[in-house]
């Protein structure tokens, strides 16, 4: 945790070839959206994961599937941070930028710090491509890149030359240049190559000629690094000392899908997903569609409303109903969520947040749906809200959300976001016995006087109503969106009953058991708390390390449960002189907490479609951290710590 904040030095040419040790490296692959940068980055990530590094990734791609070739709009990039210790973010700025064309250079160069390494495919730096992105002169020739260590590599022509003997078409040959880049970087960072070779053979098993072309390109890139003089240094990043266990690399969307599957298995209930394709949530639909063998049914509905409607219908029938979407879709589902609140049926609603409002920024990340999740319905319609803090954590968050839905018979909102969805990191795979038991009891017997059934009688502990599924003899009953009479569930316009039912629905959600808020305070005497939720966990943690390294004592706490809040939240907030809340919105959590507890908070916000950088957050937090004042000290003695 107290790892020094090292600025990983970029490679420098030297006379002799040497091997240097690094604690961490950030690499960014950037190219045209058709250049296969996501695939290249993904593969490098898998190799780093298999090697045992800790890692975090951040893909960044345009909403257009194939923007015009060679334009700034079409630039797609993949950033990977890997290290020999537990890292928290995908890294602020790359140490190495791989730019496959002038557009990629232009779009990404501003993030490369002076001294950084730049690897470019010179073949793509043609007059035409330069003109497309507004370069009057070739930046490779004019000396404007003198602040960087530039490696000019004719990747396209080296690749096509190497593939000439294979007799494949020019287009296919050129498309293998991303594997050349991967080979070169694999050499530079001393990555094992067997995994990548095996992966290529499996990926293109049905097209052996393409597999061969990619293998040759990969090996050519590797050999190029080894034999040319321009790369004098290679680097080694040792495996990270993570907690004991079996690990794999996983993205947030996959972890979320697996959490849903595990919930089905651990409850013994079928899973029914009703969903409408939407970025960046669609991969959950794709993943679950492949997992039918776990009793998972997926239904691609005609619209967002039908997606949740069908999920609710399935829940009424006794399945785990799930619907997945992003912000605009959540807006459309509001009325159906209200129906789920009223009918008190279990339902999981996943919102993978993206930049808003309206269509907003479909492929970029944001946390601006928190208040929509909390309050975006007519009437008093409380819904539990759960948020994962990282890609791997999405697995546990999904299990937790389903646990609440089943135990309390309520719709639950799970707020992921684009950074979690597409980002990846190592995940310590839970042992079989670590998975929770989510078994539920359907109602089977009448529970009222004279053998009657009261669908709205409540469990005294949880206030949950019985889940009586159609097909159960003697329990036939009607539910719906109109106000229910307590107990019988019949339509009731009685004012006292309505007052009671509104309050009991609220009390049921307020009473959900959630774990206490844990505070990480290594020094033990921090007076400043950094509080966050969702995917800001990593950046806040990384900024906290920097603050501590700079001599500040700060504590960090992160909310998994936004509704209900942990019981100790107020006590925790009151025990710090200053609470700072960084968020990727205009201060929604801060608004919520201040409204609830009347405690002044400092809100730090960003809505750029990108996560906070660790250094950026450090720079913004440093001036905000106030010195202790006398009256504060007096106050501090009065409040419980």
């Amino acid at each position: 945790m107290d790892k020094p904040v090292d600025a990983a030095l970029p490679p420098r040419p030297a006379g002799a070839r040497t091997v240097e040790q690094r604690n961490r490296v950030v690499i960014r692959f950037a190219g045209d959206s058709g250049d296969g940068m996501q695939l290249t980055g993904d593969r490098f990530t898998s190799a780093a994961a298999a090697f045992g590094n800790d890692l975090a990734t951040m893909p960044d791609f345009p909403a257009e599937i194939r923007a015009p070739h060679g334009t700034l709009a079409g630039v797609s990039s993949f950033q990977l941070h890997f290290a020999d210790y537990d890292i928290l973010t995908p890294g602020d700025r790359p140490d190495v930028l791989v730019a496959m064309n002038p557009a990629a250079l232009r779009a990404n160069l501003r993030d490369l710090p002076p001294g950084g390494a730049l690897i470019v495919d010179t073949d793509e730096f043609t007059k035409r491509n330069l003109a497309k992105v507004g370069y009057a002169d070739d930046p490779l020739a004019e000396g404007s890149l003198s602040a960087y260590t530039v490696h000019k590599v004719p990747m396209t022509s080296l690749t096509t030359a190497a593939l000439e003997s294979l007799g494949i078409g020019k287009k296919d040959a050129e498309r293998s240049k991303n594997m050349f880049a991967l080979g070169l970087l694999s050499w530079m960072y001393s990555r094992p190559t067997e995994g990548t070779e095996r992966w290529l053979r499996e990926k293109f098993a049905k097209r052996p000629e393409i597999a061969e072309a990619n293998l040759v390109a990969f090996r050519t890139g590797h050999a190029y690094g080894e034999t040319t003089e321009s790369f004098a240094v290679t680097y080694e990043i040792a495996p990270a000392a993570l907690p004991v266990g079996t690990y794999r690399q996983i993205t947030g969307n996959t972890a979320l899908a697996y959490g849903i599957v595990a919930a089905g298995q651990q409850s013994g209930l079928p899973v029914f997903l009703g969903s409408y394709p939407i970025t960046p949530a669609s991969d959950i639909l794709h993943e679950l569609s492949r997992l039918k063998r776990f009793g998972v049914t997926t239904f691609q509905a005609e619209d967002e409303i039908a997606g949740i409607g069908a999920a609710l219908g399935a829940a009424y029938g006794g399945a785990i109903g799930v619907t997945t979407t992003s912000g605009p879709g959540l807006a459309l589902k509001s009325e159906a969520i209200g129906l789920a609140v009223m009918t008190e049926l279990p339902l999981l609603i996943v919102d993978v947040q993206r930049g808003g409002p309206s269509t907003g920024l479909p492929t970029k990340t944001e946390q601006s749906d928190l208040l929509q999740a909390m309050f975006g319905r007519n009437g008093e319609a409380p819904v539990p809200v759960v948020a994962p803090r990282s890609p791997a954590d999405a697995f546990d968050a999904a299990l937790d959300a389903v646990r609440i839905a089943l135990a309390y018979r309520t719709p639950v909102l799970l707020l992921s976001d684009g950074a979690i969805a597409n980002g990846s990191e190592p995940w310590r795979v839970p042992e079989d016995e670590e998975l929770p038991d989510l078994g539920v009891q359907f109602a089977t017997e009448p529970n009222g006087p004279d053998g009657s059934f009261l669908p709205y009688a409540r469990d005294p502990e949880t206030l949950a109503r019985p889940w009586a599924v159609p097909g159960t003899k003697g329990l036939a009953h009607r539910i719906g969106g109109l106000e229910k009479a307590d107990g019988t569930g019949n339509i009731s316009y009685d004012s006292a009953n309505h007052e009671f039912m509104v309050r009991v629905r609220q009390a049921r959600i307020d009473g959900i058991a959630v774990p206490d808020l844990e505070v990480d305070d290594p020094a033990g005497d921090a007076e400043v708390l950094l509080l966050g939720w969702g995917s800001t966990y990593g950046p806040i943690g990384a900024a906290a390390r920097r603050l501590r390294a700079a001599g500040h004592t700060v504590a960090q706490a992160h909310l998994r449960h936004l509704n209900p809040l942990p019981a100790n939240t107020e006590a925790v907030l009151r025990s710090y002189r200053q609470v700072i809340v960084p968020e990727m919105n205009l201060g929604q959590l801060a608004f919520l907490l201040q409204g609830r507890y009347c405690i002044p908070l400092v809100s730090v916000t960003k809505v750029a479609g990108l996560p906070f950088g660790a250094e950026e957050l450090f720079d913004r937090l440093t001036p905000l951290i106030t010195a202790p004042q006398l009256q504060d000290t007096d106050q501090k003695e009065e409040v419980p710590a």
Partner: protein, 357 residues
């Protein structure tokens, strides 16, 4: 009327629903809730017909589910002692889809109205029909918004004066049967609320049909659109208007069958039988999509003619059966290999281990 035997090995709509050994009566299907529609509302007649036809299906009452949307007719589930959900406006077909897909042992009914099904819920209706999800949709068409007190609906006649159209409505109405046929429905029928026998026959055929069945029920709103179907009810008027079709039978109607349906151009027309060669009288074939559509076009907004009965019934695999088949296949394949392997899924292909020190 029973389901049409097409000579194919087909499943009926209720084949997977457990049957009831005991004799059931209409009153078994009445819930303890007081029915609260306006006096004279056509919904009463439909409710009575449904309560008495449900026992004849001989399925377990607890395996019957009525899902409705919003509107006067959507109160229907409260008055039946079956499982039921009174949902939100227009969404009943979507909710019923999830229920029908996940529970093959249920007989799922949707109760909806012209506003609920054709306006706010139009999208869900057409998609439920084209997917052919095993459900029976009762579309109560009174050509008016009743619950919101009298605005025109998507089936109101052009020029209708209502609270929201004091100078007459401008919207061209939907023909629900034409719409359902255009949406690839496998079963489309129509009945009149007051025609107990005809309504029961169509409902029974619809419930026994495997797939999405749409039954349009003409029904009066005595408060806001009273007498809108009177021309189809009064004997002197209805005589030349009401056409009831039966699969395999020549389409004639009126006293002593004095009118006949004949082909004209690409469509159909009505002609006095005296002026028609008997060979030219159209014989109803519920499997003929074009014929069904042409029949639906005989009912325009002025109700010069209105066709009742089963206009179309064909067999097509249902979405819910196919969906379950895919899941069953995958589950069976996994079972053969020793059961679904959650441990293997979570671990994936590439893991590494951090050992203790």
């Amino acid at each position: 009327m029973t389901a049409i035997d097409l000579g194919l090995p087909v499943r009926g709509g209720l084949d997977l629903v457990p049957s009831e050994e005991d004799v059931q009566k209409a009153k078994d299907y009445a819930s303890d809730q007081e029915v609260r529609w306006c006096p004279g509302c056509g919904d009463y007649a439909v409710l009575a017909a449904v309560r008495s036809f449900l026992p004849t299906l001989s399925i377990k009452r607890e395996n019957t589910v009525f899902v409705s949307g919003i509107g006067c007719s959507s109160r229907f589930p409260y008055y039946l002692d079956t499982y039921g959900m009174h949902s939100i406006h227009g969404r009943a077909p979507a909710i019923a889809t999830g229920l029908a897909v996940s529970r093959p042992d249920l007989s799922v009914f949707v109760v909806t109205g012209d506003g609920d099904a054709l306006s706010i819920g139009g999208n869900h209706l057409i998609h439920a029909l084209r997917r052919n999800v095993n459900m029976t949709i009762l579309l109560f068409n009174n050509r008016i918004y009743g619950l919101t007190k009298g605005q025109y609906s998507p089936t109101s006649e052009v020029g209708k004066v209502t609270k929201s159209t004091p100078m007459g409505s401008l919207d061209h109405p939907f023909n629900p049967v034409s719409l359902a046929l255009g949406a690839e429905a496998t079963f489309v029928g129509r009945a009149m609320d007051s025609d107990r026998a005809g309504l029961t026959a169509v409902l029974e055929a619809a419930a026994k049909h495997r797939g999405a069945s749409l039954v349009e029920i003409y029904q009066d709103c005595p408060i806001f659109n009273d007498g809108s179907f009177d021309v189809l009810r009064k004997p002197d008027e209805s005589e030349s208007r009401v056409i009831t079709v039966t699969h395999g039978q020549p389409i004639t109607f009126g006293t002593d069958g004095r009118w006949a349906v004949v082909r004209r151009g690409f469509g159909l027309a009505v002609a006095p039988i005296a002026e028609v060669d008997p060979a030219d009288v159209v014989v109803h074939d519920a499997t003929d999509h074009e014929l069904a559509f042409a029949l639906s076009r005989l009912s325009d907004q002025a109700l010069d003619h209105a066709v009742f009965g089963v206009l179309r019934q064909v067999q097509r695999p249902t979405y819910d059966d196919l969906t379950r088949e895919q899941v069953d296949q995958a589950v069976t394949k996994a079972d053969v290999a020793g059961g679904p392997d959650l441990h293997g899924l979570l671990h994936g292909q590439d893991t590494w281990t951090i050992a203790g020190r």
